[in-house]
């Protein structure tokens, strides 16, 4: 596994977004790619430098910009995600030659929202998901398929496996942990659980 199998994921990490992030991570792992997310970075390290390091290490970048607008009146918008998207696009444009083959997927909640407020990103791969995990899985899977010459596992297989996985993970979790903490599971733990489940699940003939 190396640069060509690495995926930088730039998205919100709050509880509300967790169902979408989990669906996205499941898809990336099911397709045998390795996710890189900024939440796993040690707090002792400088976050910005680590994000740049992730961008340098990953051929693929998935950027969900659906949460940059204010949730409540008086809130300030957050622009970390568009900033990181800009770094990723910039690295492909101006970075060293290895980065020229970068592939970038931009996700948004509502169709054409970002083309209205950030029209310069027109021409990129932009898909909307309406806040639905199944659409995230389909978008991410289809995008990998479009950027890959070899066979990519079909959407229905990933989606069905994801449903089975969620039931197993939840049932297993609530035996030992309080049920209401399920959505607060840290991303690093979720990735480890997902990876081991997928590895075993794929080892049996379906």
């Amino acid at each position: 596994m190396g640069y060509n199998n690495n995926v930088f994921i730039n998205c919100p990490f709050d509880t509300e977004y967790a169902p979408l992030l989990r669906a996205m991570l499941f898809t990336v792992l099911y397709l045998d790619y390795k996710p890189y997310i900024s939440q796993t970075i040690s707090s002792a390290q400088v976050r910005n430098n680590q994000i740049k390091e992730h961008i340098r290490s990953c051929q693929f970048g998935i950027h969900d910009l659906s949460r940059c607008h204010c949730k409540h009146e008086g809130d300030l918008p957050r622009f970390n995600m568009p900033y990181e998207l800009g770094l990723d696009i910039g690295s492909a444009e101006f970075g060293y030659s290895k980065l020229r083959n970068k592939r970038i997927l931009i996700l948004e909640k509502e169709r054409y929202y970002y083309q209205k407020i950030l029209s310069d990103i027109a021409g990129q791969d932009i898909f909307h998901h309406d806040g639905n995990p199944d659409i995230i899985i389909k978008n991410v899977r289809d995008w990998f398929s479009n950027n890959n010459d070899s066979f990519v596992t079909p959407y229905h297989e990933i989606w069905r496996a994801y449903n089975l996985f969620k039931e197993d993970l939840f049932s297993n979790y609530i035996y030992q942990m309080p049920e209401d903490s399920f959505n607060e599971m840290i991303v690093g733990d979720y990735i480890k659980f997902t990876r081991i489940w997928i590895s075993r699940f794929k080892s049996i003939e379906n």
């Binding site: 169902p19 669906a23 199944d134 229905h156 993970l169 942990m177 840290i186 659980f193 081991i196 699940f201």
Partner: protein, 89 residues
């Protein structure tokens, strides 16, 4: 407060065991692009794709041998919406 890691080898091993387990009389009703699929536990291939949730549940209940088993109905986000237990006794 920063959430703590809950990952343990024991949790991971029990989850891994569940990934390979196939309960014979257990079916999942999975919403997929506006249709309802009846999928046997631990499998990918659907036994039937139905137009409605009710039709899918009825089909799953009908194929459960000895009328003893479980039907798990999933939401359109993949969570478990409810479980239907069948018990012959």
């Amino acid at each position: 407060m920063k959430p703590k890691s809950i990952y343990t080898k024991k949790l991971a091993e029990s989850l891994a065991a569940m990934a390979t387990e196939r309960k014979k009389n257990k079916y999942h009703i999975i919403v997929e692009l506006g249709k309802w699929c009846v999928v046997p536990d631990g499998k990918i291939r659907a036994r039937r794709i139905c137009k409605t949730e009710e039709e899918a549940i009825s089909f799953a209940q009908a194929i459960i041998a000895d009328n003893t088993g479980e039907v798990i109905v999933h939401t359109n986000s993949g969570d478990v919406k409810h479980r239907i237990y069948l018990n012959n006794q």
